[in-house]
Amino acid sequence: MRARILGLAATAACLAMPVYAAVMLGDAAGSYTISQAGSAIRFTIGKAGGGGFDGAFARFKGTIRIDNNDVGRSKVDLTIYPESVATGQGRIDAFLRSDAVFDAANSPEIQFRSTSVTRTSDTTALVTGRLTARGKTFAEKFTAELDGLKGGTIKFHVTGKVLRSRYGMDVGTPLYSNVVDFDMTLTGKRG
């Protein structure tokens, strides 16, 4: 009797593993508005001779829509305001905002619109989309990892590499790497 109960529990546990993920995804289905509180969009650019410099965008907005039945039909929209770039060094911030890099005065928004979402594991997905900056649009891909879901709040850890030269921001290469490493924490609130 005792053995049967244990066996049953073990079977249930085995079943529960994938079921749990599926349930989580089911729970996650819905529309989320990305909130600046709890979110961060950080980036790093490597430097010749080692090291690099880090920055972050303080202002952005976006939505995450997770499809109930088909994760592949989920969508992510993100708008970043390059004017809000901050590196901790005022002179570098001014340089980044200027027409040398973002030209924030004439191109106040950087936009990402997902075109496909491919689930790569229980908690990860590859998000492909179109990134527009300074009037140029290219396909980019990011890896999203589900970091938590509690109440109506969902959290993703998103990473990806973008070649800045394609967006007319190649200033300083090869002194500074052409590859921009993004590391984002996106917190979405349902509704």
Binding site: K47, G49, F53, R91, P174, L175
Partner: protein, 197 residues
């Protein structure tokens, strides 16, 4: 036979009365870069476009390191090669001051790139130096701070203005020799020594 053939060619080193082509080449190459650097330095901090300013500053750094290498070579060359004496017509005052002016020119050509190197080394912008995108030039072992950056920027500026004044004096003296005194002081820095001189 070989000896004889060589004697017909222009010697690499200075002769007692004339500069060699190597000395002349170094002189004009450095002159071109030095004056170019003064102009570039003046323009790069006034230009409107931040992008152009950034690129021009990197170019200024590249030429600065090249200049530093060339001037070290030139000083070594000068120490190993006696300069021909001034013509007998040159007065006592110039005979005493000209070597001092030349010494000062060497000192400025050395101090200017070094102060620029110190400036980029202490700058809180931490922009690496990569002469002509060829290799990473390490920073001087100095501690970075806004205060140190301000100090070295000022030193670099004052040296540049004083250096520009010194170059102007040097050019004026050369032109005076050529057009007023009508001696060989300028032309011997243009035409290399040849065999038999």
């Amino acid at each position: 036979m070989v000896q004889q053939r060589w004697s017909h060619m222009r010697p690499l080193t200075n002769t007692p009365t004339r500069y060699s082509w190597a000395t002349i080449l170094l002189h004009w190459l450095i002159a071109l870069i030095f004056i170019g650097q003064l102009v570039l330095g003046f323009v790069m901090v006034r230009i409107e476009s931040q992008r152009a300013a950034f690129e021009l500053i990197q170019l200024h750094k590249s030429f600065g390191f090249l200049l530093l290498g060339l001037i070290i070579l030139r000083i070594a060359w000068r120490l190993g090669n006696k300069a021909p004496p001034l013509p007998p017509s040159v007065g006592a005052l110039e005979r005493r001051t000209a070597p001092l002016a030349h010494l000062a020119l060497y000192a400025f050509q050395l101090a200017l790139p070094l102060s620029g190197w110190a400036l980029v080394s202490v700058s809180t912008l931490e922009i690496p130096s990569m002469p002509f995108n060829l290799f990473v030039m390490p920073n001087l072992p100095l501690i970075e701070s806004d205060a140190a950056e301000g100090f070295w920027a000022a030193v670099h500026w004052y040296l540049a203005y004083a250096g520009a004044a010194l170059v102007a004096l040097h050019v004026a003296a050369a032109l005076r020799h050529h057009f007023l005194l009508r001696d060989q002081v300028l032309t011997r820095m243009i035409t290399p020594s040849s065999a038999g001189e």
